[in-house]
């Protein structure tokens, strides 16, 4: 084992060194005149080729290797793999932008997506490792018995993971199409190839070792631009340490902008236009003005009205918690912040693709340590994201806002061409006001290399990092869905006598099928699917968290209790989020639909407890199993 770890450390150190050399070589090539298009292609081709070779080298025909990487992934490497598994295209590209737009209120994502690991470490990982099977439905099935609980868990796995994987493949399509200059649909299927080369031949084993490499690439790519940016603005290259002082400057600048009368006229112009659109909408609604396609026209107008209305809102400070005009508004913002943080945390601790990573460590001891490494590696990115947002805000507020629209910097024009930045001189004064600038959240990470004046090679690196983030998460999710189907449905329920070869054939067939369906759905660019990703956390939290935690910590929890808890928790969550989002249901306590788990999770706990208490206690064998899961070893080494 020790020699194995030493070798791994050597391989990945060589790999990291090699990757840095590769980036430097490309930088030199760029300096010598290599065209940008070639740099993009070289980055994509080299990284995908690398993942493919790891995938081929680690191919396997062994069930334990395929499902849980042979259970010999050392804590620190499992930590890196979990980091890549966890950080998606949205974390890598979108989060800094969300923080830019929401300021303090966006920190719910930072705390939610890291604090969840405390729950994983303390309540789940060591016990699941001791249980030591293959999937999350496996634990539910073994703990509670019967096919009903297991099947419900499979349904929960698919509900939580499928929209998520679709969004990753969509992200791959966006990145490849933008940097390789190919169309989006081709990009999706190129990306699908990149995903399948890792998971198809080697299952969890190949995915694990590819994810370690992907983590290294994505973290280098994420840190590089903002380190340069920090050096440019403060001459200290440690952005996380110095952005407090930059934040102070941003606050000063915000005060100046708030006091500027031109900003107010720009906002009033937007409010006036929102009212005009309002009148047009009423005309169409009451059929006063005939239009050829009223439904589509209304959709478009409503969207424009919402945008203009948003722009008419007063400016708020980046660091101000829960901004709002009135006390009830501020209280609702606070309640939503807390609810969202809670749902993201519990959801993190219940997402099957994260939890199964802790089946792959050699021991309970290493599973505990592995969660520590996971969170450390994840935090490296998450505590850099708010720095990205603050540096970008500083740059935009000082160098863009208040300057002449005819003399905007180049990066604004190049991203405006792609539709990610929009500038509109609504009050016709030739000067850019804050309300007149529209930024797509993705632009913050994507444009930082240009804003900091870095060569194109860094933009290529960022694209490669985003691709690594999307591919690694997609791999983990695909494997989770396919394994729940092949192991829990096919092997455990349909055909318990299946041979190892047959099980693997079924597993690989299902993997291919799920991947193709997800790619097909992603290629249609469905807006609804993308907005549903945030739901995955509430869904997973409400479906799994109560049943898993009570299954470990309360021997009295019964099969009927678990089934009731999963049905009621999941049912209530789905009822609330679909009701609020699509059927105009009134919100309960002003909680938004993404935080539906705030109702579903406690409902799940309460139902399990109440139903368990009125049904007969679990049998001796089940109680022994729970006892067994609680102790790393019952044999003892001393005796």
């Amino acid at each position: 084992m020790r020699a194995f770890v030493q070798n791994l450390k050597r391989y990945y150190s060589f790999f990291t060194g090699g990757f840095v050399m590769f980036v430097l070589a490309l930088a030199v090539a760029e300096y010598m005149g290599m065209p940008e298009r070639w740099i993009g292609w070289t980055f994509m081709a080299a990284t995908v080729l690398l993942y493919a070779s790891i995938g081929i080298l680690t191919r396997t025909a062994d069930v334990v290797e395929y499902y849980v990487a042979g259970r010999r992934v050392p804590a620190i490497f499992n930590g890196m793999a979990t980091g890549a598994d966890w950080m998606s295209a949205a974390s890598f590209i979108g989060m800094a932008g969300t923080l830019y737009q929401k300021g303090y209120d966006g920190l719910a994502f930072i705390m939610g997506w890291t604090g969840g690991y405390v729950l994983v470490a303390l309540l789940l990982a060591p016990y699941l490792r001791k249980f030591g099977e293959f999937t999350i439905p496996d634990f539910i099935g073994a703990r509670y018995g019967g096919h009903a609980a297991r099947s419900l868990a499979v349904v929960g796995t698919i509900l939580a993971s499928f929209t998520y994987v679709t969004a990753q493949i969509y992200g791959v399509g966006i990145i490849t199409s933008r940097f390789l200059d190919i169309n989006f649909e081709t990009g999706v299927f190129v990306g699908l190839g990149g995903i399948l080369v890792c998971s198809f031949l080697g299952g969890m084993r190949a995915v694990t070792w590819t994810q370690v490499a992907q983590y290294i690439i994505l973290i280098i790519a994420y840190l590089m631009p903002v380190v340069f940016m920090s050096y440019k603005v403060t001459s200290v290259p440690i952005p996380q340490l110095v952005y407090g002082s930059v934040l102070e400057k941003v606050t000063e600048r915000e005060n100046e902008i708030m006091a500027d009368p031109a900003q107010i006229t720009a906002r009033e112009d937007y409010r006036a236009r929102a009212k005009e659109i309002d009148a047009q909408i009423r005309d169409i609604e009451y059929r006063l003005k005939p239009v050829p396609a009223p439904a589509a026209e209304l959709d478009r107008l409503r969207k424009e009205r919402a945008e203009d209305f948003d722009k008419a809102q007063p400016i708020t400070h980046h660091a101000e918690p829960f901004p709002g005009q009135t006390a009830p508004e501020r209280n609702a913002a606070r309640l939503n912040f807390l609810a969202l943080t809670f749902c993201l945390m519990v959801g993190t601790a219940a997402l099957p693709h994260v939890l199964i990573r802790y089946y792959t460590t050699p021991s309970v001891k290493q599973a505990r340590e592995s969660v520590f490494w996971s969170l450390l590696f994840i935090s490296l990115l998450y505590f850099t994201a708010p720095a990205y947002a603050v540096f970008a805000k500083y740059e935009i507020y000082t160098n863009l806002i208040g300057s002449s629209i005819s003399e905007l910097p180049n990066w604004v024009h190049s991203w405006a061409k792609l539709g990610l930045v929009k500038v509109e001189d609504i009050n016709h004064d030739g000067i850019l006001q804050l309300a007149e600038l529209t930024l797509n959240p993705d632009v913050i990470v994507l444009a930082t290399p240009e804003i900091a004046g870095l060569p194109y090679v860094v933009a290529g690196l960022v694209a490669a990092g985003g691709l690594a983030a999307a591919l690694s998460t997609a791999d983990g999710l695909l494997l989770t869905i396919a394994n729940a189907l092949s192991h829990d449905i096919y092997y455990k329920i349909i055909n318990q006598n299946a041979s190892a070869t047959r099980r693997l054939t079924v597993a690989k067939g299902l993997l291919l099928l799920v991947a193709l369906i997800a790619a097909y759905v992603a290629s249609m660019k469905p807006d609804t699917i993308l907005s549903m990703v945030a739901w995955a956390f509430s869904i997973a939290g409400a479906c799994f968290f109560p049943a898993l935690v009570l299954g470990i910590f309360w021997k009295r929890a019964t099969q009927q209790g678990a089934v009731a808890g999963m049905v009621i928790g999941l049912g209530l969550t789905l009822y609330y989020l679909i009701g609020v989002k699509y059927f105009g249901m009134a919100k309960w306590f002003d909680i938004s639909d993404v935080s539906a788990g705030i109702f579903g999770i406690p409902a799940g706990f309460i139902s399990i407890i109440l139903v368990s208490l009125v049904t007969p206690a679990p049998d001796r064998a089940t109680q022994n199993m729970v006892e067994n899961v609680r102790y790393p070893s019952l044999k003892g080494r001393g005796s």
Binding site: L107, A121, S245, P321, L375, F383, S633
Partner: protein
């Protein structure tokens, strides 16, 4: 199944440790966020305190909680003779 007393003690200690660390987790996350508007007047390293906690402080505490838990539990396994075979 008869559970030996020492093993019960191990489990009790585990629950106690888990519970206390969860209290820290809860305070750092939810209590600070609840009072964020009141704490915003104080600054730390140039950051308003709630912003610092949300963006960095809480993350440090989370990592620390998990580190303490892993270290303490791994020792407890040895003490109560429930540690696994070294592989």
């Amino acid at each position: 199944m008869h559970v030996p007393d020492t093993r019960r003690e191990y489990w009790r200690k585990n629950l106690w440790l888990t519970g206390s660390l969860l209290v820290v987790w809860f305070v750092v996350t939810f209590c600070i966020a609840w009072f964020a508007r009141d704490l915003a007047a104080f600054t730390f390293l140039g950051f308003p305190v709630p912003f610092y906690m949300g963006a960095q402080g809480a993350l440090f505490v989370y990592v620390l909680i998990i580190w303490i838990y892993a270290r303490r539990m791994n020792r407890l396994d040895e003490e109560y003779d429930v540690a696994e075979e070294e592989r």
